[in-house]
Amino acid sequence: MRVEGLSRHFGAGESRVEVLHDVTFSVARGARCVIVGASGSGKSTLLNAIGGLDAPDAGTIHVAGEQVTGRSPRELTRYRRAHVGFVFQFYNLVPDLTVTENIQVTAQLVRRPLDIDELLEHLGLTQHRHKFPAQLSGGQQQRCAIARALVKGSDLLLADEPTGALDRHTSQQMLEVLDDVHRRYGATLVMVTHNEAITALADQVIELRDGRIVRDRLNPHPLAARDLDW
């Protein structure tokens, strides 16, 4: 994935805010990239642009050799369908669908989805498969969200503060799950967080401040999630 000269602003006149300013970086296929920054640093805007949810003012994004920027809404839909799996901070499950049905929502979008039963088993959700989101704990809901993102076999997994709504213990478990599925399914993982500690498990860490990259470093010795020290 290659991001080049990306800029994005919101508002106009006196209320104009530069959220991203000339952001450029690359992420290797299959890598775990953590984008870290304080609230308002622009990390979520960057993630949304990579995911095709938002259009930057300037700059380009290439994923798997395809240019994401400059596409029509319809083309962006096709891009998300083919390449992107999202994991949101608040899980964003459809409340009136069961666990299996929530996963089916994205499985429908591709010709050859991954085996849902296998995913459920792997994520420890088999016994909860017929439950609705409201009947699950936060950790279980996030696992369901991860399964939903994975089931398409996407080559790009975007996680926006995936542990932001979880307690420490559950967060650790969640990172282990992400770590595990990353190893198992091999998608490129781009995770946005404000938690510096999480950067230890990344292959690449990008630090954002006020919409600019202040540091882009590779981590030669990423930790396993279970070894992470909060």
Partner: protein
């Protein structure tokens, strides 16, 4: 509450309205249209009832009428008055006339009759011999006004007044028969003028008396006058004397009753037809009102619930700061109530404007002019009922929605809780997803189904009425193979009139049919070789009848049922063995022999005596044909009018119904268009509401990679099936409901077919419903397209 707080509250309400103005406007339109039709129909019906009441009161409507062969003697009048009743002559003469180049039959009445007096819409009663007051329907058809002229019996009368008579709610030449006001006129003339006309046509005079009970009973009057017999020497009809003489010569104890018709006002279809119509209209309208208002109340309640979900955090914050639940309830009630009030007021105004055009009965019946204005009660109900209903339903819903704990309200969350624990794994994904949608918002689905049902009910009402009348007319035209139908009081048993086909007609009353106006059935004995009725009567027993479709429909009878008939003294129980496809009159078909057994033996004897002294009833000797009293023919016959009771033509029988049918088109059009509008509005506001509630989910699906078209299929195509299923259920149910309404509506008309909805009507209704859905689908697809894909990102701390 201080002024600032009120101003702030109003600003919030205004902003609340502005942010979702389309849905509030739509619901106001729904209420305006629904109430407009309702108020219009109620106003029209209550104006009818009010006018009839006024006509009866001001015109001193007689409690009943008596028709006699000759004027009552002074002694007979005195005997009636000795009962405490008052009886006054209200005679009439039917003479030829001519109005605006059209030959007519004019019924001339005395302008000074003491009971059942006319009510004038314009002008004054006639005082000179060359003046007349014309009944309003005839005047309207011919465009006559005060000062115009018309010809009556060769003399020209100047019209001094236009008005109506209280016992001529429906202008008909014969009681119980539909008439044509173009060809039949009622003209009231000065007493001297009446005497002149009566003197010129002594045998055309009908001796009619009106009586006011004033403490007596109908039965007392009936019994007293029923005992009176006719003095042949005084009868103007020469056949009375002929028949009596012949009978006496044969040594037969024949005497004719002086009274040929005794009709209490309550049984008079000329009076009750309009009342029955108006009451049926009011009943149907009130049911419709309740349905419309319930629909509106629940749609508004759904809006309120939706507002509360959206405002959850604000409500939680206000609650945390100490705002009472009562204040919150009041806040969320203001907008629905304001919209309801506005819609109701506009509906009242629309109804007021529509009412004069909905006065179907005012074009069909004759009654005094009345201001077609909503009564204070209708006006009050049209405002108070919706406001009360909306307050009650909304208060319940809002209170329930506000009942969540404050900390829960404070937490932003997408709308919706867990779905129903139903396993849907085996369903294809799209079906599963749509079913989950339905299970998630069953209230909205029920409301859409209810709205569709209501609209179909209205459409069935409108289209079914038209189809039933069309079908009736077509069938009647096919069935009425004869051109002329004569009933005879003094049949010539020497021979059946050349060109005629004889029958025996015995009009009887149906036992147990109380409440239906004109509860009569004519037993018709027809020879097997008659060319006009395709009924096989030869195998029928004496206590068996094949009834016409008209009788089956009117009295809800079928093969295997028992039908009890009576003639005032005797009763007969018949087994209904079949139903014939004859829709224009309530007939019970049998053989002439069986029908003769129901005729008063004295009448049979008199008839036989006239043709051949000494012959016995039913015998076929001395060149005398068996008794008959009805003749059907395909052309007018040369029958002495003095022998007749009545003469009807095919045109007369069809004419009234054709006119009624033409008048129906206004109501059909109004009902059809308004129901279409209601369907579109209900579908539109509710589908939009559901889309608004699914804003988050739609955004999520878009973020996950669903296209706009796929989102539309998942979220909107559900309603296609819902509408289709609602139509499939609503059509037969509505037909069943309206069938009963129709039966009551047509009980006083010579209409004998059940409520019909043709395949074309069903196709039209389905087409309209699906058309409404298509309009809403296109409009709401735009809504789903506008859901921003980034909406899903808003649920973050």
């Amino acid at each position: 509450m201080n002024r600032d707080a009120v101003a702030l509250g109003l600003r919030r309400q205004w902003r609340g309205f502005r942010s979702t103005w389309a849905r509030w406007t739509a619901i106001a339109v729904l209420l305006t249209v629904g109430l407009g039709v309702v108020v219009g129909l109620l106003t029209s019906a209550s104006a009818t009832l009010g006018a009839l009441e006024r006509g009866a009161r001001e015109g001193q409507l007689a409690d009943g009428m008596v028709v006699t062969e000759i004027p009552l003697t002074e002694q007979q009048v005195a005997d009636v008055e000795a009962l405490g009743a008052r009886i006054v002559p209200t005679p009439f003469v039917d003479v030829p006339g001519r109005t605006a180049g059209t030959d007519t039959t004019v019924r001339v009445l005395r302008a000074d009759q003491a009971l059942s007096r006319p009510t004038l819409d314009a002008g004054v009663l006639p005082s000179a011999d060359d003046e007349g007051m014309v009944e309003k329907l005839h005047a309207r058809v011919h465009g006559l006004g005060v000062g115009d002229t018309l010809a009556v019996d060769g003399r020209t009368l100047r019209i001094t007044g236009i008005g109506s008579l209280p016992d001529y709610a429906s202008v008909t030449p014969h009681v119980g028969q539909s008439g044509d006001p173009e060809l039949f006129a009622l003209v009231m003339v000065a007493p001297d003028a009446f005497e002149e006309v009566a003197a010129a046509h002594p045998r055309a005079v009908s001796w009619v008396y009106g009586y006011a009970l004033e403490g007596a009973t109908h039965e007392q009057v009936r019994r007293l006058l029923g005992e009176a017999t006719l003095d042949p020497a005084r009868a103007s009809n020469p056949y009375v004397a002929v028949a009596t003489d012949a009978a006496r010569a044969a040594g037969l104890p024949v005497s004719y009753p002086a009274v040929s018709l005794f009709l209490p006002a309550d049984d008079n279809p000329r009076i009750n037809g309009a009342i029955s119509d108006a009451r049926t209209t009011m009943a149907v309208t009130l049911v419709t009102t309740v349905l419309v208002l319930l629909l509106v109340a629940y749609v508004l309640a759904e809006f309120s619930r939706d507002r509360i979900v959206r405002d959850s955090v604000v409500i939680g914050t206000q609650s945390a700061h100490g705002t009472s639940e009562r204040a919150l309830l009041a806040h969320y009630l203001v907008l629905p109530l304001a919209v309801t009030l506005a819609g109701s007021l506009l509906g009242l105004l629309l109804g007021r404007a529509l009412a004069p055009f909905l006065g179907l009965v005012t074009d069909y019946y004759s009654f005094p002019a009345a201001p077609v204005e909503p009564t204070p009660l209708v006006a009050l109900l049209s405002i108070v009922t919706p406001v009360t209903l909306v307050t009650a339903v909304n208060a319940l819903v809002i209170r329930a929605a506000l009942g969540r704990p404050t900390q829960e309200l404070l937490r932003p969350q997408p709308a919706g809780g867990p779905g129903l624990p139903v396993r849907l794994d085996r369903l294809p994904f799209v079906s599963m997803f749509r079913l989950r949608q339905a299970l998630r918002t069953p209230g909205s689905y029920l409301l859409i189904a209810a709205g569709t049902f209501l609209c179909i009910l209205l459409l069935v009402f409108g289209l079914g009425m038209r189809s039933s009348m069309d079908t009736y007319l077509t069938r009647a035209e096919d069935e009425l193979l004869f051109h002329d139908f004569y009933t005879l009081r003094f049949p010539d048993l020497a021979a059946v009139p050349p060109g005629g086909h004889e029958a025996v007609a015995v009009p009887l009353r149906v036992v147990g049919a109380d409440g239906l106006p004109g509860e009569s059935l004519t037993v018709l004995g027809v020879p097997a070789d008659n060319p006009y009725f395709a009924v096989d009567v030869d195998a029928l027993g004496a206590q068996e009848l094949v009834i016409s479709r008209a009788a089956a429909h009117k009295y809800r009878l079928g093969a295997g049922d028992t039908l009890t008939l009576h003639d005032g003294e005797l009763s007969w129980a018949f087994d209904v063995v079949g139903v014939s496809d004859y829709t224009t009159s309530a007939f019970g078909f049998t053989t002439p022999e069986h029908a003769r057994a129901l005729v008063d033996p004295a009448v049979l004897l008199a008839a036989r005596s006239m043709a051949g002294a000494g012959a016995r009833p039913g015998a076929d000797d001395d060149g005398v044909v068996p008794y008959y009293n009805a003749v059907f023919s395909d052309q007018p016959l040369d029958i002495d009018p003095d022998r007749l009771v009545s003469h009807s033509t095919r045109e007369e029988m069809l004419g009234g119904v054709e006119k009624f049918n033409a008048l129906l088109s206004r109501i059909v059009a109004l009902v059809s268009w308004s129901s279409m509008l209601i369907m579109v509005v209900v579908l539109y506001v509710l589908v939009r509401l559901v889309v608004a509630r699914q804003w988050y989910s739609i955004s999520l699906l878009k973020a996950l990679g669903y296209s706009d078209r796929e989102v539309g299929r998942l979220y909107l195509d559900n309603y296609l099936w819902l509408v289709a299923a609602s139509v499939a259920i609503a059509v037969p149910t509505s037909v069943a409901i309206m069938g009963e309404v129709w039966r009551l509506m047509t009980a006083h008309l010579p209409i004998g077919i059940p409520f019909l909805v043709t395949p074309g009507d069903v196709a039209l209704m389905a087409g309209l419903a699906l058309g409404a859905y298509a309009v809403v689908r296109v409009a709401t697809a735009r809504d789903t397209r506008t859901v921003p894909v980034t909406e899903v990102l808003k649920f973050r701390e």
